[in-house]
Symmetry: C2
Subunit: 463 residues, 2 copies
């Protein structure tokens, strides 16, 4: 009998997160204050995040210990299994060996609790009683609800209106974990009311929801805000995925990985799998590392590298990232987690350095890939994840054409059981593609025209 | 760090199913023909099931080998983890050690594929091209869709109308696996049309849906019917759960289990965990083994032991079982999988022999238990499963009162991510209990008044 999956025992789980900041050839450009243009210090973030997480955000330590209290909760679903996708390989007739990390086994069904649990712990340790956040597809909101529930904190989730309407079960999940979830833009905040005045039917966006959640946090007692992606510490908490995968591949005797892929909205699940392999690449290994995104929100593949706000209401510091501009309202694709206007600064820097190679896929193709996946591997994928499956299939077909063995590693970041309306649209032929028109992108980029441009540093030189 | 869960490696997975028929103190009373009252032979079932499964149905062999082709598919999610429910124990302040098998990790999210995959394999091996079935909550229909998809068979699912309406995502899951799912009663069959003429707004029932699926199977080419519970071979396929659990408990050094529990609609998930422990009890071990059911459909706790039809349209042979009568229309509780009018003959015989002790719970109490579970153990339970969690909590509290250590083992049969409307009703205070009124039960039992009564055999004597 062929071995389909590898588990680690609980005592084999990695005890530290990997911080890629220690190894980037060129350091991140600092976040800067929008008014002064000067780098901001940790204190400026104190009303938004607890200081212990701010310290992680700027840390240059390569390895950060995972606290026992976090590990205890991780063990509710970690280590996650590493699968060999034999059935998909067979269907594609490829000589490639395809492996995937199944992050769908967590109670909320995605990779998101890897950082949610860590953030809830650090907030509690800092004396915080209540957390606020935004959510797109709902993966992040349910993960933070789950995590705050485990640590006995209150939780308020601002959910992008279009997803709130498309995915009613998500709110119910959050309620199961005792959280309060409302649609954004809401009348709860100045930021929300302002948007609703301009457009009462606004479908919302992650940028708007972030503005609301931050405003709520900084104006409420013992409350801090939590972001499910984009920031350095968030991406770092996810690296347990890649670190586990390395141990599991080793157990299988796989010495070399050729392709690593994951979908990227803000960038956390991709980074979680990929960063430990980016380190290998920095150290000379030949690996193709691919973050994938939708053509409707082509942050990494078409947008410029610029300083930009993290939110629509311009309340955050400016971050150096590939961005479509903070006023960008993405088309209503079902992959709600891939509709953010920017991409994590750490991922942006990896793109600048040529360490990773972003690709974009259409929505219809992504669903086609997901249906093939369900009918071979059995699991129903989140619509975000299906964009990374496109890369897997592309690379597996290339291996077939070239007649070459190849090891492909995917982060199967979550199941799609809460997102079946997208499959409904696909099956009934109502699904459409929304490749972003040049003119719309141009207009959207006007929002960042006056903002500073970060240096593009590669190999110690500006390019 | 305390160990939260135990995995088996893939080569430690049990290689055989356990057939309790080999060990029952008194053999099952045979199925009989409704017209003649005589025991029916295997041939009478041939239009409905493939002969290889009929042979399993009547086999008296203790151990049946799991074919490699089935094992290969099992490995997509098996072995499933055995968890220690530390967080629930802490919340209850109990000295009991609570363990649960997490069957929710399968692609369809429940224990059901354990038999679905086996049945699809045996049908394919017999040359069958298409399978029909019924589904209540949708767990079974999606499991068979998944299994037939893996083996390249067509699949048609008749889904009980009320669940079809309450749980629209279930149909979409089945579509993802290439199956055709329609609401029952339907206009597709004589059985369905007859019910709709009498009551166009019929909410349906498992009994009706079974009639439709059987009619479709026996009147279509290369088609057989598949049942997700009740029958001997179905329960046997599930025993891999209990056999895995025994190995896992052994790894933890647990030598004795005191309480085993699972919910029981037709009885398959309960039997799957419990039968290997029933064998221990037959051999003298002291174990309390509890199948749990809703008070709204109190088959095991209040109904008589009688011969009865498996379906509403009276197309099946008569089976010896505890039954509320085959015309029973259960109240619209959310635990759709627990709304069947009868209970498996093997479970019925175990009740007669005093080997297991059924208990019934109200719907509100079941949701209360499920919410406590979600807020401690993290996972959101299927509404069926929550009935078994009631037993766990009951027994854990008893252990606390008595100040006694105790090992409790639960089959956590599936997640409730497809069933969140029930939680919505619970949170909004709209959920009600439906304990079955005496008068309604009396009326329902009229349907079996003229039917033969099986002997109640215990310890070789009629009781």
């Amino acid at each position: 009998m062929k071995q389909v999956k590898v588990f680690l025992t609980e005592d084999e789980i990695p005890k530290q997160w990997y911080n890629i900041q220690a190894d980037l050839p060129d350091p991140l450009q600092p976040p800067i204050h929008p008014a002064t243009g000067e780098p901001i210090g940790p204190d400026a973030l104190a009303p938004v995040f607890p200081m212990n997480l701010i310290e992680q955000e700027v840390s240059q330590e390569r390895w950060i210990n995972i606290p026992d209290e976090v590990m205890e909760k991780y063990l509710l679903w970690r280590p996650t299994p590493l699968y060999r996708a034999y059935e998909l390989e067979k269907a594609l007739g490829t000589p490639a060996r395809i492996y995937y990390k199944n992050e769908g086994v967590s109670p909320p069904g995605s990779h998101k609790p890897n950082t949610a649990v860590a953030q809830a712990y650090y907030n509690k340790a800092f004396g915080i009683k209540r957390m606020t956040t935004e959510t797109g597809a709902g993966q992040w909101g349910s993960a933070l609800s789950f995590a705050t529930c485990l640590f006995g904190l209150e939780c308020k989730v601002y959910m992008v209106r279009i997803s709130y309407d498309q995915k009613p079960y998500r709110r119910l999940m959050m309620n199961c974990w005792n959280a309060n979830c409302i649609a954004s833009p809401s009348k709860n905040t100045n930021a929300g009311r302002k948007i609703l005045e301009e457009n009462p039917d606004s479908p919302g966006s992650l940028g708007i929801a972030i503005s609301e959640a931050i405003e709520d946090a900084v104006t409420s007692k013992d409350t801090r805000y939590s972001l499910g992606s984009v920031l350095n510490h968030v991406l770092m908490h996810q690296t347990i995925i890649g670190l586990e995968a390395k141990k599991q591949l080793e157990k299988l005797g796989e010495k070399k990985v050729d392709v690593v892929c994951g979908c990227a909205g803000g960038g956390s699940n991709f980074s979680g799998l990929a960063f430990p392999f980016v380190l290998d690449k920095i150290n000379g290994a030949e690996i193709t590392i691919v973050p994938s995104e939708p053509t409707s929100c082509p942050t990494m593949t078409r947008a410029p590298f610029s300083y930009d706000f993290g939110d629509t209401a311009e309340t955050t510091p400016l971050l150096p990232m590939y961005t479509l501009g903070h006023k960008f309202i993405p088309p209503p694709i079902h992959a709600g987690g891939l509709r953010y206007h920017g991409i994590a600064p750490l991922i942006s820097q990896c793109i600048v350095e040529g360490l990773i190679e972003p690709r974009a896929y259409n929505q219809l193709g992504a669903y086609e890939a997901a249906v093939l996946w369900a009918r071979t591997e059995g699991f129903i994928s989140a619509p975000e994840t299906s964009h990374a499956i496109c890369t897997v299939i592309e690379e597996a077909k290339k291996a077939k054409e070239e007649g070459k063995e190849k090891v492909i590693l995917l982060n199967w970041s979550g199941h799609g059981l809460m997102d079946l309306t997208g499959y409904d649209a696909y099956f009934s032929g109502k699904l459409v593609d929304y490749p972003l028109p040049e003119e719309e992108m141009r207009q959207s980029l006007e929002a960042i025209e006056g903002l500073p441009k970060p240096k593009k540093m590669k190999g110690g030189k500006e390019i």
